[in-house]
């Protein structure tokens, strides 16, 4: 044994503080994300998304809505419902004050919307496992993505809590488009699964809505404050 191993140079105090800070940073980041998600009622939204998956399963299993060319009607409504739930989580209870609190807010908004959109698609797809979903997962994903985009854009004007109205309005329009066999790309719910124009429209609306909500956030004062 030599003294070389004993005489290890001591760790400088500054370096020790940095490692402790790094150790604290991860839980703090996770805690920040958790607090952000809780303030947006994301846990309740997850529960509601699971219910949407169950409802979609029930509609397909018991053939509760029309078949044939109109078989897309029932699933489309539930997919729009899931999209609206995502949009409702953009409402912040803290208002303007939150925007001055730190630089992580846009990342938290972006992450929350992206994660919830993925979870919504997954929950709905899980709900229809083993059942025959008209159009398959591609139409399901496109509807969720596109209608979420409409809701995100609406939240800039109406605030998160009222942002459900415009997506449901679009849903009503899409139901008519389905009945009338319209074929425009912006009526993406009625287009075939691999239709490029429909995908471009849905993704474009989602991207614009997501970018706007990420950087600006939903309107904090409600549109019905009259």
């Amino acid at each position: 044994m030599t003294a070389a191993g004993v005489k290890t140079p001591p760790v400088p105090p500054t370096s020790r503080a940095a490692s402790a800070s790094a150790a604290r940073r991860l839980p703090a980041g996770a805690r920040l994300a958790w607090l952000h998600l809780r303030s947006r009622r994301v846990p309740s939204a997850l529960l509601a998304l699971a219910l949407c998956g169950g409802a979609l399963r029930a509609v397909l299993h018991w053939h509760l809505t029309s078949g044939g060319a109109l078989a897309q009607q029932g699933p489309m409504i539930i997919e729009a419902g899931a999209a609206v739930l995502i949009v409702m989580t953009t409402h912040s209870p803290f208002g303007e004050a939150e925007r001055a609190a730190g630089r992580w807010l846009p990342y938290l908004r972006l992450g929350a919307v992206l994660a919830l959109t993925g979870i919504a698609i997954g929950a709905l797809q899980l709900g229809v496992t083993g059942a025959s979903l008209p159009g398959g997962v591609l139409i399901l994903a496109r509807n969720v993505i596109g209608i979420t985009g409409i809701g995100l854009l609406a939240s800039l004007v109406t605030g998160g809590l009222l942002a459900w109205i415009l997506p449901l309005g679009y849903l009503g329009f899409a139901e008519y488009a389905l009945n009338a066999a319209w074929r425009n790309p912006w009526t993406w719910p009625v287009r075939p699964p691999a239709d490029r124009g429909a995908w471009i429209c849905a993704v474009l609306v989602f991207a614009v809505g997501l970018a706007a909500v990420t950087f600006r956030g939903a309107r904090t004062s409600l549109a019905d404050n009259g």
Binding site: S44, S66, I77, M88, L168, G226
Partner: protein, 507 residues
């Protein structure tokens, strides 16, 4: 009791009534529903107005839209918005503050519900008015049906009550969209159920296990026949059952809302009878009456019977006196060949006459050639050609023409007129076997029909045995002089109809 005491009581009563009206007026002025009116207007235009405008201008047909598309979207938005406004006190954190006011919280909340229902019903009625005014400007027969309007108004009010009660019970941010989506899903589930009692989908109506799906105001999930309500009045049986059922739901929801302590203290759960005894008794009676009305309507709708002339009837609600046909004088035009039409379809008379006159002139004087064309109810099969001097046509005929689902403007196009000519000529040369379906059974019949159609400038329809040899025979027959063609037809039309003439025998 003195006159002074009576005056004081009257004054108190008037003050209380004035307070209620004033509160309602304030709620109406500040209602959040105003924000959704543009979206409702857009949905109305795309879904209801365009659909109605594409239908022929008959009242029953146009009115079917107001209990279909117009009602579906109004109900969805009404339920969502009502749930949204019900959460207002919780959202603005004024529940505790308002709990200390003298006015009962239930009365305050009921005013909000009434204001929401007022706006939604007003928006719905505005849509109905637009459709009815447009129909009134175009229709030439009958008047506006009011039962569908009653069904729609009660359904919109019930949607508001459902949404408001849900919003009061669960004052969360997700309640409004979930309620709206649930109402919309329920609508389409109902439409699917209604399709199960749709006469077009069911081969044997007597084999139906139950007809309770008639309660869905979607009117069997499809538009009625073009001539519904034209020859016979539509019985109000199904509408009465629908109003009873939906009105029952409305009563139950309002009664439950009055009984819920959540309506008095936001966040409180369970049933409580701690409020005023009179309110509790009235609310409980309302719930009981609502359940009874809905249950009765459900059982009544289950006894529905389908009539070919008037549609669905419910025996317990049916008035047989209303089954008589509606008298009318047909509108006619032409001299040598008269074209007559029901006055409800008078806007089509010009197009029908323009289509049939050249065709009738081409076959004039031949054995069995009609001297008159007359519109008959959709369920009557046309008389066999050669046995009557009248060509019966109906709005529901399954021929080559687009029929009367086209609007009068569409009927004035060459396509529509040529379709009617194809039906007319096909009927004239066909035999008894082909009366139920379009088409001709023998090549000779097809060749003669093609030649006659070519003479009046109509294209060849999709005949089943169309081939080159038939075209060649038709072209040879067409090239004959009118006198020779007429003479050959006069001598052989009966044999042609019976199928004994072959292609080779055509000159």
């Amino acid at each position: 009791m003195t006159a002074v005491a009576l005056t004081a009581r009257t004054a108190r009563f008037r003050t209380a009534r004035f307070r209620t009206v004033r509160a309602l007026r304030l709620e109406i002025r500040h209602s959040a529903v105003v924000w959704v009116l543009p979206i409702l207007a857009a949905l109305f235009y795309v879904n209801a107005y365009r659909t109605a405008a594409g239908y022929p201008p008959t009242w029953t047909l146009r009115a079917s839209v107001i209990t279909q598309a117009n009602l579906a979207f109004s109900s969805m938005i009404a339920a969502g918005v009502a749930a949204w406004v019900a959460t207002r006190e919780g959202r603005r954190k004024t529940g505790d503050l308002l709990a200390t006011t003298a006015r009962a919280a239930w009365a305050r909340q009921a005013t909000v519900l009434a204001a929401t229902a007022f706006w939604m019903v007003l928006a719905y009625l505005a849509g109905v008015a637009v459709i009815y005014v447009q129909t009134a400007l175009q229709a030439t027969w009958g008047g506006p049906p009011l039962w569908p309007v009653a069904v729609g108004v009660v359904a919109v009010a019930a949607s508001c009550a459902i949404g408001f009660t849900c919003g009061t019970l669960f004052p969360g941010r997700f309640t409004a969209p979930i309620v709206a989506v649930a109402v919309f899903v329920a609508w389409f589930v109902g439409v699917n159920a209604a399709n199960s009692v749709n006469p077009d989908n069911v081969s044997n109506l007597s084999s139906l296990k139950g007809t309770s799906a008639l309660l869905v105001p979607a009117l069997l999930g499809r538009p009625p026949d073009v001539d519904a309500g034209v020859y016979y009045h539509v019985p109000p049986d199904v509408f009465i059952a629908q109003v009873m059922f939906i009105g029952g739901v409305l009563l139950v929801m309002v009664g439950l809302f009055a009984l819920l302590p959540a309506a008095r203290v936001p966040g409180a759960w369970g049933l409580s009878f701690a409020a005023g005894r009179r309110l509790t008794v009235v609310a409980a009676a309302g719930v009981a009456c609502g359940v009874a009305a809905s249950a009765t309507a459900f059982s009544l709708a289950g006894t529905g019977q389908y009539s070919l002339t008037t549609g669905w009837e419910i025996p317990a609600l049916h008035d047989a006196a209303g089954d008589q046909s509606v008298p009318y004088t047909p509108d006619c035009t032409g001299s040598a060949f008269k074209v007559c039409i029901h006055p409800a379809f008078a806007p089509y008379l010009g197009a029908m006459s323009a289509a049939l006159q050249p065709a009738a002139a081409e076959i004039a004087g031949l054995p069995g050639a009609p001297v008159r064309a007359e519109m008959t109810p959709g369920y009557s099969p046309p008389a066999v050609a050669g046995t009557a001097s009248v060509y019966d046509y109906s709005v529901e005929q399954e021929g080559f023409s687009g029929g009367f689902w086209a609007t009068p403007a569409t009927a004035r196009t060459a396509d529509w007129e040529q379709g009617e000519q194809q039906d007319f000529i096909t009927w004239f040369v066909s035999g008894p076997a082909e009366q139920d379906a379009p088409g001709l059974t023998t090549p000779a019949q097809e060749a003669v029909a093609i030649a006659l159609l070519a003479r009046i400038g109509a294209p060849v329809p999709s005949y089943p045995q169309f081939s080159q040899s038939i075209t060649a025979a038709a072209s040879g027959f067409e090239s004959l002089s009118p006198a020779a063609r007429h003479a050959w037809l006069a001598a052989n039309i009966a044999a042609l109809r019976s199928g004994t003439i072959t292609l080779a025998q055509i000159p």
